[in-house]
Amino acid sequence: MNNKIYKIIIITISMLTVALAQDPPDLPGAPNQGPIPGMIWLALSGLIIAAKKYFGNTEK
């Protein structure tokens, strides 16, 4: 009986050593605070609208 308890204790300790030796999981980083995606396309489209109107009016 005593022998069994020793075995359990030894196995538990050795398993604990393995468990504690693992790196803890990475903490989550700061969330992305970047702007709304694709805004550059909107800006480019605005530029095209403005240029089209501007040059259209200049030609008249």
Binding site: I36, G38, I49, K53, N57
Partner: protein, 165 residues
């Protein structure tokens, strides 16, 4: 073009040096969007809770309205065009305030959609987030910009008429 460039440079400086460090405007926009989205979804019978910038439908993943998601940058971009492009001043104010208000409301609807996306298509949430501005914001902004150029066109014609008279 020069006017627009100056506007965006001034905006960026003001944002980086005053608005961002202060944080209140970003926080107000984010929290109000989250709370309004939560209230709207509650009205439709969803069991949803809000904590500051975070809204969570019971049993599903939460949605956090970050600074980048509160549409402040988009409001600035939208305003820059209306301010820079010539047009009648009275209507300019209407376009500015109305446009900013509508962008705010569209953002509330967008955040509601994000929350519902956690229920109906969570695996595609990132894709939905990536393309959401093309669905909710950009058609409206482009249409409004185009309408504004038409207005400015009318004024240009009137001005030309007057100068010839």
């Amino acid at each position: 073009m020069v006017k627009a460039s100056i506007f965006y440079i001034v905006w960026q400086i003001i944002y980086d040096l005053i608005i961002l460090p202060d944080g209140r405007l970003d926080h107000f926009l984010s929290v109000s969007v989250a709370v309004l989205a939560k209230n709207a979804l509650s009205l439709f019978g969803w069991n949803i809770s809000a904590l500051d910038r975070l809204i969570v439908i019971e049993g599903y993943r939460g949605v956090e309205v970050l600074n980048g998601c509160n549409a402040l940058t988009l409001m600035a971009l939208y305003s820059g065009f209306i301010i820079s492009f010539q047009g009648p001043n009275k209507k300019r104010i209407i376009y500015l305030l109305g446009g900013i208000g509508i962008i705010f409301i569209l953002n509330v609807i967008r955040i509601m959609a994000f929350s519902l996306a956690t229920v109906y298509f969570q695996p595609h949430w990132d894709t939905f987030h990536e393309f959401s501005p093309f669905i909710f914001f950009y058609p409206f902004v482009l249409w409004t910009w185009y309408q504004w150029t038409l207005l400015s066109d009318d004024q240009y014609r009137t001005d030309s008429g007057l100068s010839f008279a």
